[in-house]
Symmetry: C2
Subunit: 320 residues, 2 copies
Amino acid sequence: MGSARLAGIDIGGTKLYALVTDAEGKILGRAKKKTRPKKGYAAVLERVEACFAEALEAAGVAREAITAVGVGAPSAITPAGVAVDAPNLGWKDAPLARDLEALLGRPVRLDNDCNCGALGELSFGAGRGHASLVGLFVGTGLGGGIVHEGKVLRGHTGLAAELGHLVIRHGGRTCGCGREGCLEAYASKTAMGRRLRRAVEKEGRPTLLTELGVEDLGSLRSGLLARAYREGDALTREVVDEAADYLGAGVASVITALGPEIVVLGGGVMEALGEELLPLVRASARRSTFPDAAFAATPIELGTLGDDAVALGAVALART
Amino acid sequence: MGSARLAGIDIGGTKLYALVTDAEGKILGRAKKKTRPKKGYAAVLERVEACFAEALEAAGVAREAITAVGVGAPSAITPAGVAVDAPNLGWKDAPLARDLEALLGRPVRLDNDCNCGALGELSFGAGRGHASLVGLFVGTGLGGGIVHEGKVLRGHTGLAAELGHLVIRHGGRTCGCGREGCLEAYASKTAMGRRLRRAVEKEGRPTLLTELGVEDLGSLRSGLLARAYREGDALTREVVDEAADYLGAGVASVITALGPEIVVLGGGVMEALGEELLPLVRASARRSTFPDAAFAATPIELGTLGDDAVALGAVALART
């Protein structure tokens, strides 16, 4: 059998990542596949199994040596392991933990992807050595994860830490979720894209992004956003800086309410533009955190795990 | 010596309350005094001691029978028991726990008043039987307390749960704390008073409140606000209903982020107008909580302990 091994799987809307690690989280093998959610639930699960098998092979580890498989998915997850609603995958009330256990043949521990991301950064990344952490992950949407006293805070329904839907401007912009004034409606890439599109289409403002060949500002890649930002495109700067300002207000609320030991910012937008945005987010958070001493006592840092954050958090979950 | 007895003291900006209870929190005696903060720190502490002595006498309990005294104070409290900043009392960095232990002659457990209020409602009030609770206390200011897995959540600095300073409208109204867009700047009695005053003084709007003899709308008593509201005064309704709407958005953020088993609303304004405001707060919270299932799973209730909430929470703290 050999010594205990763990696995972590990140089921994303676009990609699947699988990692096999030793008991300390050292990566022994990895694999990556496209998710292809349009092929349906069963087909995605088959691809998860294939990705897991590939990572096992890359690691030279037998399936039986895996103590448990942690899995992160972009959905609210019930304590019973049901993926309640995963819009990017088209799943509703999918009994994911049970189905994956049957398919992978190993015990499965399932959680929301951002909960895993936060746990990953705490266990192996920017939050190492801390007992509490709040993670904010800025990409297409804006996800959150809270670790309190070493454990993921899921609330009594398992639905907590949806920090993209904190009310940051009551009565303000409509969010993708249909509510008004959510943080995600101001600080996600989708929010920025909408803002850019309106400025170009309705106000006729110029932007380097159209010169860079972006056709749909609403589904802009983070890399192009970063390029236009770095080249000093005025519209991009205006829109991105405003988003960073709102993100800072969200960070402030989180520190004011929870007093975590550290706040970690991750996700595609922060990976692409983190160095530029971090000072803006900190400045905004400083203005809005109560009291000043709480801001002073709380580092706000970029995540260090990049694309591995969720899968490594899943490994940490498997270890518990 | 007799069996173990506990005490709880609420040091408010205006009044002091002391309770003596049995080990289960049954009240055996009580006392109440004016705080008179203008007389200074040492004089207030003497009044606390006198109030405690009076409660002991009313209960017929010897001081030595008190296992521990819980104390709630309107200040951020450090883990070492220092009251960092109590604007209503005029205290800064006061070593309150140490000084009270010396004065009362019993072990003291000190916490922020709203943390105590939340713990009180969980232990003996509306949240009885629950393991997690968020309390929002609407009075002159707007205070918050969070109990998670049976314990007060204080954050790593001891400064957490300052829910009156959640950013609810980024870039919005200036709060008493100097920041912009805090919940307290929209949903506290002070915020309502400012709004009323502006409408009367700047817009010349009529209100029953002036007929009721209110001279300073900025320091209105809750009872008069409730009377004008119940008598259908249009301006009062408009202002109070808007505050309730913002409070509901704050409740939504708290449920979305933390997923507590119950949210409890207390404080002077809720005691005076709770039955009227609760449906408005719930309706607003329903619109803004993510996801819908989290709202559906979370009762939002009025506190049941009234003026005893903080002192009874202090008793619960003394018991731990």
